[in-house]
Symmetry: C2
Subunit: 236 residues, 2 copies
């Protein structure tokens, strides 16, 4: 995912689209491999999108689409793919309808796409989502980003992860060797260890994940057997 | 800034360190150019850190330091700089004191640094911040990340930005041409335009920034003169 926006880098706004996307993709069983926040600069956006499009199955961008001077994501993505900017006839029709005949140059910019881009219907929303190759171009405003993502989500779905958790009163230094031992036997297990400060209930939360439910159960039982019994506060 | 963590990419945790850092750096007058969130993988971390260290004045990393199997940031940064991992004598002393004689292999890992790394005092905290070249290695836990950042902040400070804001009842399509006209005359102005949905008070917030207070005032006055008077709800 590529988040475009000086407002995020300058701390004026806390990004919520990346967090939303991470959670939604997880539910779909899709592994999010990278989030990059880049400034409103053609070169920075183009380089990052080109890298991600080449490296991953698909890419979402958030932000920098609209009629103002700082909305340059479409132009940058055209650079990333070495394409011209062209007016998309269907998008032009939608923009003209939106501006009710008062279409100016700034508004017309909203009908431009990299040559070869296609439009994806976005549920109840007026504006479709522009796609070029494996890149989906979404706006930064969360109230529009989120329904646009949901309208696309079906095409990203594969198979979900199964998840268990263990809450411990011991610190990471005590348990690290048991985690390593468990991973030796269950190398495919996704095992996370998250210390928590200032919580009276537990000090570390372990998360165990796998797309194979039986593998997860066996790894979970094995790890529980390794950990000091009095350190386990609860499991989920 | 490089944020290391599968827990962020999988949506289990919303990152707060990047937002904190963005705000704090802005107060110091430092431009944050990039935030990358990468998974707990040596290659991903090493490539991103190497790119950022080469491209920017300094780099902060967050997360992936500690005794567990998934804490590989130090090792990855050694790879990024082509250095060996070595036990730092002073860090070993601090880790031994912390583990009170019960130091195991996992704990000893916390005393390893890329060869040539230096330690920076971190205020009241027990563990210093490891620095190699222009990279500062911080932990992911916000309660430790934040005081460690603050202990370092003095060395990043340059000169601050001055900021004004204009709140508008008109939409972006109406005002875009005035923003472009203002930027023609004041090309050094940092001008942001942020639409807001579902707010009864205003529809767009414009932010104007410059490190030169007089330049900012002139640009602000010019833009106010261009905008339709009935569209301006308030200024700050």
């Amino acid at each position: 995912m590529v988040v475009v926006g000086n407002e995020i880098l300058s701390g004026k706004v806390q990004d919520s689209n990346a967090y939303f996307t991470a959670r939604e993709l997880r539910k779909l069983g899709v592994t999010l491999q990278r989030i990059a926040v880049v400034p409103d600069e053609i070169r920075s956006i183009a380089d990052e999108v080109a890298y991600c499009a080449k490296t991953f199955d698909f890419v979402l961008t958030s932000g920098g689409v609209g009629p103002t001077h700082d909305d340059i994501t479409i132009e940058a993505i055209a650079v990333a793919f070495g394409r011209k900017l062209v007016v998309h006839p269907e998008l032009r029709r939608i923009v003209e309808e939106y501006f009710k005949g008062g279409l100016n140059a700034a508004g017309l910019k909203m009908a431009e796409v990299p040559e070869g881009a296609v439009l994806n219907a976005a549920g109840d929303l007026r504006f479709p989502t522009v796609q070029i190759e494996n890149v989906y171009i979404l706006p930064g405003i969360p109230q529009i980003f989120e329904p646009k993502f949901k309208a696309l989500a079906g095409r990203f779905a594969t198979d979900p992860y199964f998840l268990r958790a263990i809450f411990l009163s011991a610190n990471e230094g005590i348990i690290a060797e048991h985690l390593n031992a468990c991973l030796k036997l269950y190398p495919e297990l996704l095992l996370g260890s998250y210390p928590r400060v200032g919580d009276s209930e537990y000090r570390v939360k372990l998360t165990l994940e796998s797309k194979d439910e039986h593998y997860l159960t066996r790894a979970f039982d094995h790890l529980i057997g390794l950990l000091p019994g009095d350190a386990v506060v609860k499991t989920e």
